[in-house]
Symmetry: D2
Subunit: 261 residues, 4 copies
């Protein structure tokens, strides 16, 4: 059993900024994928915004068990039809992990149904992440807390729905806090948001961060077969009702007619 | 303190179907609004799909404390820009109640981030709603269960996110069950989904159903001032950080620059 | 409509420690009750551990809409039978607010079903509370964050169940974070945990803290009639089943027999 | 990696009732354990109420990854100290599954902090369980619904806290519904409640029920090391604070002193 991971990278700052290219010469997406590939049972590769269909073809999504998404500068360039396709894959059972500035990516906003906003500051300050759900699978191998010496600050209130579980909360040197690890389920798919990863710092080279992403991939992975038509609303005709009933009263729909939507 | 309610009606089947018009001669929306207006402290009126901007102007939303939504045949005719405006009103603190087939309305799907699908059967069968959260404000004045002699069946799995609370679960004569009362919060806004209300039955004339909707209006109402810019992600400059810090490391953003989104 | 509040005080450190007596000459419980009594619609009084039945007679509980609990040094002296009586009152619909070190009180541990442990440090450090649920009723009148210049530190992991909603998260000067405002429902009763309030600091004189407690009282208050027998598990005989059925198969219970428990 | 399961059986009705003995000649606990043992990667055995320390010695709990509990007639005979020991094992990370009438067992009531009551009827009626959380691991291999031709009815309101996820909802022939599969986390331990299993019917011989229990064992199992002292509340001295701070203000505790509890 191998978990097939696709890392989606925006690949914009790596091209424009020498600072970012210096830290991630092969792109952030490939740094993340390489770290995942060091683990037995995980097979990761990457696609980028600039690929045809942003690399998110139906075939690719069908062969992806867990999708990892990092974007920042070009959220608006992601095609709405592709966003819907990605969300349908999640609803059918694909796991999905959103990293850092992907809080404002189209698929995350679409899956949350909420503004997903926050406060922020780019000052290279210290972040300390605390585990708030003991022995949660996403925390395997981690101490009770770990530090990132330089990170961008994200502050509360974070405009997301109440999660299934709050796994991490961050402390920032400048005085803010942030719920930095949150789990959700949408349709048949597991979703995890993880805060760290500003592109001007070497966050994705950090061993603890790599551990979290690896654990999250395993947590989000669902070995069950994908739901074939995750948005279908099938009619159950009277003669196939689990209990015998007789039709009564006035009707809108003719027999065999599709539901309205 | 008066709660200002707007009932949004699709107003399609009332025009096309004699059955529906017979039950709701003034339209379903006006039946719901009238029932609400019998309560001290609630002032309800209605708008319809066919109104300019579907009746959902910025002014109207600003003056609406709680929005009630019923739609079925014409979900696709609701303009996407209006949907976004309605969702922003919810995020700013407006309460919202979705009735029955509004499970497939654009604003509900947008706020849930999920497929919102289900199974269904139009057979006029008996539905019995059970209270699953004792003394929840939405159940005030209700017995432990109540019946609707003729209703459309909606069956699980219901493709929505896990709610804050499950308030009602329905039993159907034909053998299905459905989580028929669910609470959510999106941004600063309270959201309630309530299942009953197929247009060919007199459901909105039922006293218990009217009680639920009245209670839900009170529950969803938030007297606090609306959040002014519910999707804003403000920068907190270094010199305004709650704790004194010094800027460190490389940066993407110039001082005073807007965040990317 | 007046909300009747009882503030339960342990009243031990006020007697033993000059520091505590200096800050709370009438006891912490009376400071909290006095602040509540400044609000129209709230009528608060206090009882203490040393009262007969710790002040928690059946009569008192029946006349209490919301119970506020502060204890620290003498959790073990609270009689188990009284704890059970308090929990039954919550299950019947009484609201309950636990303050600070009451995380280790018997009623809180009993209602949570969890260890309720944490890390701590008594160093008079700065605490900053951030609102994490925008426009939650418990945050009415508060800014996005507020500070307490001297507080005891409580750190994660906090051994409590995932709450209905996380309302506040605290930042501490020494580097820790804590989920400091959490909502729960147990039986028919609303429960709120609020972190601040170490006895050697003037926390309950703070205006923002008083606002939170007042809001929490209003949020926890349930005007519906108390559930008469909140632990009853009534039999529904065959002839009173909502749907007509016939008894089948072997049985353990004779007609009219009580359930086992 | 083998999951070590202990099935705890009350073993009372098997001794007293010929009906129960006829269906479960080796006891219900051994029927459940045998079914589990047919699965690779699971090693199940059983203990009973009548064993020394009810079979729940510290050693046994330390070697149990997942504990399955069935009781009905003799909840009151379970020693309180053993109940606390079992709960501490859960808090340290042991998984636990409660079956049917164990809703009124001491460990379940202790872990829920709620009345855990319901309505009931012993009439051998039909129960139909519906999956409400698509592709939840506990539903692997199941259809969207399955039936038990003869079961005891349990009806809402079920007096438990809102779960992390509602996995199953039951339909009963007599007109009731019940949330029959619920997940919780308490401390580091995963907890699952599953409704079916009245002792006078052959429920634990049913293939779908066996599938649910097997899936639940896998879901509840946590391979991480147990938390050593799951109720500890350690002090973090000033000189070991993550950030450098200086002690300020008055204190209750002397250096090195234990916290109060």
């Amino acid at each position: 059993m191998t978990i097939r991971v696709t890392v989606w990278g925006e690949n914009v700052h790596e091209q424009k900024s020498e600072v970012v290219r210096g830290i991630y010469p092969d792109g952030m997406h490939n740094c993340i994928a390489s770290a995942l590939n060091k683990n037995e049972g995980i097979q990761a590769s990457s696609v980028v915004l600039q690929d045809a269909e942003h690399g998110m073809t139906a075939e690719r999504l069908a062969e992806t068990d867990v999708l990892v998404w990092w974007g920042h500068a070009a959220h608006g360039q992601v095609d709405d039809a592709i966003v819907e396709r990605v969300c349908e894959a999640v609803w059918s059972g694909m796991g999905m992990i959103f990293l850092h500035s992907a809080h404002f990516s189209k698929p995350f906003k679409r899956l949350m149904g909420a503004p997903c906003n926050l406060t922020w500051r780019e000052a290279g300050e210290r972040e300390r992440l605390w585990v708030t759900s003991r022995n949660h699978p996403i925390t395997a191998g981690l101490p009770d807390h770990f530090e990132l010496e330089n990170e961008e600050m994200y502050g509360e209130p974070f405009g997301v729905p109440e999660p299934l579980e709050t796994v991490f909360v961050s402390w920032f040197q400048g005085g803010e806090v942030f719920r930095s690890g949150l789990t959700y389920k949408r349709g048949a798919g597991n979703v995890f948001y993880f805060r760290p990863g500003h592109e001007t710092y070497p966050t994705y080279h950090d061993a603890n961060v790599q551990t979290v992403i690896r654990n999250a991939v395993k947590w989000a992975y669902n070995p069950m077969a994908r739901v074939a038509k995750p948005t279908d609303a099938p009619n159950v005709p009277v003669d196939r009702a689990p209990e015998k009933i007789e039709e009564r009263g006035p009707k809108l729909h003719m027999a065999g007619q599709q539901g309205l939507r």
